[in-house]
């Protein structure tokens, strides 16, 4: 099954850039999205979301550092200078997505935005 972009012929088009959808290519299947807040006080911190899928899913996590309120970064992200460091990451197992900060100085509430897909990473 194919669905082409306007002005392209779905019956003959082969360039996937000109297709909206083709059953020849796998797609990401959206499952759930949401937010997580993590309070950090100059020490390592972690929280999690239980997805319960029974496998490691494809997922994306963005976060907003309170110092840069209009910037959304993908994890992992690193701030480091001679004295201070903060390493922000998200990882998964077959039951949860974990949101983690390793730091010696960061004191803030971090906002994470996650999207989890049904697609398995097969990891």
């Amino acid at each position: 099954m194919k669905l082409s972009k306007p002005t392209f012929n779905a019956l003959t088009e082969t360039d996937p850039d000109n297709l909206v959808f083709s059953s020849e290519y796998n797609t990401l299947k959206y499952y759930v999205s949401g937010t997580v807040q993590l309070s950090v006080s100059a020490a390592d911190a972690e929280t999690n979301v239980t997805h319960g899928l029974g496998y490691v899913p494809f997922f994306l996590v963005y976060y907003k550092h309170p110092a840069f309120t209009t910037r959304f970064s993908m994890t992992p992200d690193v701030f480091e200078d001679v004295v201070n460091y903060s390493y922000i990451e998200a990882y998964a197992d077959n039951d949860k997505i974990y949101f983690t900060t390793h730091t010696n100085s960061l004191t803030a509430t971090l906002d994470f935005y996650y999207k989890i897909f049904k697609n398995s990473t097969n990891l």
């Binding site: 002005t7 012929n9 999205s33 949401g34 937010t35 807040q37 929280t47 997805h51 319960g52 899928l53």
Partner: protein, 122 residues
């Protein structure tokens, strides 16, 4: 939408987006179940179904081709019938959930009163 909060402080610790949640999504949790509680808000149908007509422009391919051999299209105005149903949050604080859904407010604008288990504005 499902909102998770710390049972001691009332701070909101996470959420699951959406107006309707599957059984699997209702089994999800943010953080420790012993530390965090949740408020679940689903959207339910209100009122009657309405069917109405609307005009829509569509591009339709013609048998003709242009000088470069590319297919030519023409615009058609068609009248389609559409059925609409109204939905609203099935929760006593539906005004708040409506404003969150329309992105007029953010979750960070609220906390949870841990005794009443209601959202309150900061």
């Amino acid at each position: 939408m499902i909102i998770f909060y710390n049972k001691k402080t009332g701070n909101i610790v996470g959420s699951i987006d959406g107006r309707k949640h599957s059984e699997d999504q209702l089994k999800m949790w943010v953080g420790d179940k012993k530390e965090n509680g949740r408020i679940v808000c689903s959207w339910e149908r209100t009122g009657e179904e309405r069917t109405y007509e609307r005009e829509e422009e569509r591009l339709v391919e013609t048998p003709l081709v242009d000088a470069d051999g590319l297919p030519m299209f023409k615009k058609l105005v068609v009248i389609t019938k559409e059925t609409k149903r109204d939905y609203e949050p099935d929760h006593e604080q539906k005004d708040i959930f409506n404003s969150l859904d329309r992105k007029e407010t953010k979750l960070s604008d609220y906390y949870v009163d841990v005794i009443e288990k209601r959202l309150k504005k900061r």
